[in-house]
């Protein structure tokens, strides 16, 4: 039987759709802004009113990855003709790409920072989710003395703003030589994410019937084998959801990365804004850096979206 909707219900639905559209636009506008600026010519980046229709350019990305200097004199026609296409777009902007004595292109600091971000975020996510999964399994399946207190203690590590401990952490890290090191940030981000990972994974573990493992134990497997062959595949949804959250936290972290690192292990978040201060800010380059920085999280989340949605409705969040 078809439900009959009153005119007020129809009107409410339309208002709701408009409201959702408005909210979506508000959320997507900054992302569009960053993405469009990343492809704009430099002179259109800061026009008032903003330029919406323009010929997209790749030059901000070329500039993002290379070291450049201002051209004192324009390149000769031979130099211009001999230059590859990506160097020409830099010439067009009144800059040139810096090369070393052997003529090799000098890279900017961005690729290294980007790699640092990837290494640190992926490693800390793997560690936090891995340790969180084991810990959650322990809490979920075995009688642990003082379980409630321990779980509260684990959660309590997130009860103060992390930046409060930044100065003591910096001093301790300096004392043990962990500042400006990959391993230093990996430990830090793993520690941040672990409590969250344990809590989230415990919810997912509790949802997996323990009869599955018991069946595997009786079928001739050890508990460890049962964990890897039965529990882990069943917990895939939870692991994926937890990994996305941990990865986003580690990937976007700014304050500690700014304080604890300066060059060798610096990640992209503190590096991108630092470019504003060097000479005249080229917003298109900063937007290109930010746009590329958004991609891994977007791709990671997109790939795991089905798990994430299921995780949202079946996992710890449901409780």
């Amino acid at each position: 039987m078809a439900a009959v909707r009153t005119s007020s219900e129809v009107a409410f639905n339309r208002v709701a759709i408009v409201a959702v559209l408005v909210v979506t636009i508000i959320f997507l506008a900054p992302i569009y802004w960053i993405a469009s600026t990343a492809f704009k010519p430099r002179n259109l980046a800061t026009t008032i009113p903003p330029t919406v229709v323009f010929q997209p350019e790749i030059s901000p990305f070329v500039k993002l990855f290379t070291k450049r200097s201002q051209l004192r004199t324009p390149p000769t026609p031979e130099e211009y003709a001999a230059a590859p296409w990506w160097e020409r777009v830099v010439f067009d902007g009144g800059e040139k790409i810096v090369r070393d004595g052997k003529g090799e292109v000098q890279w900017s600091g961005y690729p290294n920072r980007f790699m640092n971000s990837l290494i640190i975020a992926i490693t800390s996510t793997v560690l936090a989710v891995g340790m969180g999964t084991f810990t959650a399994y322990g809490f979920s399946r075995f009688k642990v003395k003082g379980e409630a207190d321990l779980l509260f203690f684990i959660l309590s590590t997130r009860m103060l703003p992390p930046v409060v401990v930044a100065i003591p952490m910096f001093l301790m890290y300096r004392a043990v030589g962990l500042n400006d090191s990959h391993i230093g940030l990996i430990i830090l981000y793993t520690a941040f994410n672990l409590s969250f990972s344990v809590w989230l994974m415990k919810g997912f573990m509790d949802e997996i019937p323990k009869e599955y493992e018991e069946a595997a134990l009786v079928d001739g497997y050890t508990r460890m084998e049962a964990f890897f062959k039965i529990v882990l595949p069943e917990a895939a949804t939870g692991i994926a959801a937890t990994a996305v959250f941990c990865f986003i936290t580690a990937w976007n972290e700014y304050a500690f990365a700014l304080i604890m690192t300066n060059r060798r292990a610096q990640t992209a978040p503190p590096f991108i804004p630092s470019q504003v201060g060097s000479g005249l800010p080229d917003w298109t380059v900063i937007a290109a850096g930010t746009f590329l920085f958004l991609l891994p999280v977007a791709i990671f989340t997109f790939l795991l979206r089905n798990h994430l949605l299921r995780g949202m409705s079946f996992g710890a969040i449901r409780k």
């Binding site: 599955y212 018991e214 069946a215 134990l217 009786v218 079928d219 050890t222």
Partner: protein
């Protein structure tokens, strides 16, 4: 050849003792059913045999060797769970092959054994499916297949058909029996359903509050219940149990139920067999089929009034008012037209059971 023995097994959950000094011997190829209400310790006993639960005292022996310290994986036992416990991320084939993979058999051996079990259980066409695509009955067949494929020393079944609907339960019951006869492995089966227990078991083990009440063939536990609990737990409709007083009459004994004015006639031998229990603290147990009724008066029959008639198809259950007590009788379908009818009833002495009211134990009176 697999014999299982439980010797003085005790199990505590905190301060609560869930298994109390359990002693039981299970012979090779025997189908044993642990029967009892929920919380009676039957599942804990099964899990202890499987190695999923530790015991606090006593020994569990398989073929004479203590196994209570062995892990579940090392006991060579298979188990079927009530919830089926099929691994959802694996296909039916992989589920059945899973126990064999633990034994490190070759791929071709595993394949032929999986297919042979699938043929036995008539699930060959389901091998490629995921458990979520199966019906309840097929899920249970796969679960049984997974248990059978390894040819374990013993099969443990924890209410394996409890989650199925009534019709399917009946079908699966017959299938389990057929499989047991064909495969002939020592089996321990847990259920709270006495019909399941009666139809499947070689011997039934009845448990109550962690204590073993009686072990016997289905006929033994039905016809000669060891105590009031067994008497009332086994059999449907439930056995009538009432306080009774026995008095001597000229050439017979009279058994008065509750506060009834007149007593039912019993042979004189009852008095000697009761051995002094006649004075009180006596409970009479009689199954509905042991309460005989007729329409006209006869020797030894007391006049009674029908109260409620429950037509159950092939027979009726009629409640008869005897004093302030109700006795349930089993009659031919339609024998009594309805409530308020005057009929005549007697108790068949050969089917009567007498229990000590204080201890609940049967006085083993057979007339």
């Amino acid at each position: 050849m697999t014999q299982i023995e439980l010797r003085g097994v005790q199990k505590f959950f905190g301060a609560v003792q869930v298994i109390k000094d359990l002693n039981l011997k299970i012979a090779d190829n025997e189908f044993i059913v642990l029967l009892g209400q929920s919380g009676c310790g039957k599942t804990t006993t099964l899990r202890a045999v499987a190695g999923l639960e530790t015991i606090d005292e006593g020994d569990i022996l398989i073929d004479g060797k203590p196994v209570q310290h062995l892990k579940a994986a090392d006991r060579d036992i298979a188990m079927v769970f009530q919830s089926f416990s099929l691994y959802p991320h694996m296909s039916v084939y992989e589920n059945i092959a899973f126990p064999l993979r633990a034994t490190r058999k070759s791929k071709s051996e595993i394949d032929s054994e999986v297919r042979s079990v699938a043929r036995t259980l008539q699930i060959s066409d389901l091998l490629g499916k995921k458990p979520s695509a199966l019906s309840g009955g097929d899920m249970q067949r796969v679960a049984i297949g997974r248990a059978l494929v390894r040819r374990p020393k013993a099969m443990l079944m924890d209410e394996p058909i409890g989650a199925l609907d009534a019709k399917l339960r009946e079908e699966m019951r017959a299938e389990i029996k057929r499989l047991h006869i064909k495969q002939g492995s020592t089996t321990i089966y847990v259920t709270h359903d006495q019909i399941e227990a009666m139809s499947l078991a070689d011997r039934i083990v009845i448990m109550h509050e962690g204590v073993l009440q009686q072990v016997g063939t289905p006929d033994e536990v039905y016809s000669r219940p060891a105590n009031l609990f067994v008497a009332q737990f086994v059999g449907s409709p439930v056995m009538n149990v009432a306080d009774a007083a026995v008095t001597e009459k000229a050439s017979s004994a009279s058994v008065t139920v509750g506060d009834a004015a007149a007593g039912f006639e019993f042979p004189n031998a009852l008095l000697s067999k009761l051995n002094g229990h006649a004075g009180g603290q006596l409970a009479l147990g009689i199954r509905p089929e042991g309460v005989l009724i007729r329409r006209d008066a006869a020797d030894g029959f007391l006049p009674v009034e029908t109260q409620i008639v429950e037509p159950l198809g092939s027979f009726d259950i009629v409640d008869l008012k005897v004093g302030s007590k109700m006795l349930r009788a089993r009659t031919k379908s339609g024998f009594v037209s309805g409530p308020g009818e005057k009929v005549f009833a007697r108790i068949d002495p050969t089917q009567a059971h007498f229990f000590d009211k204080a201890s609940g134990k049967s006085l083993e009176v057979r007339l």
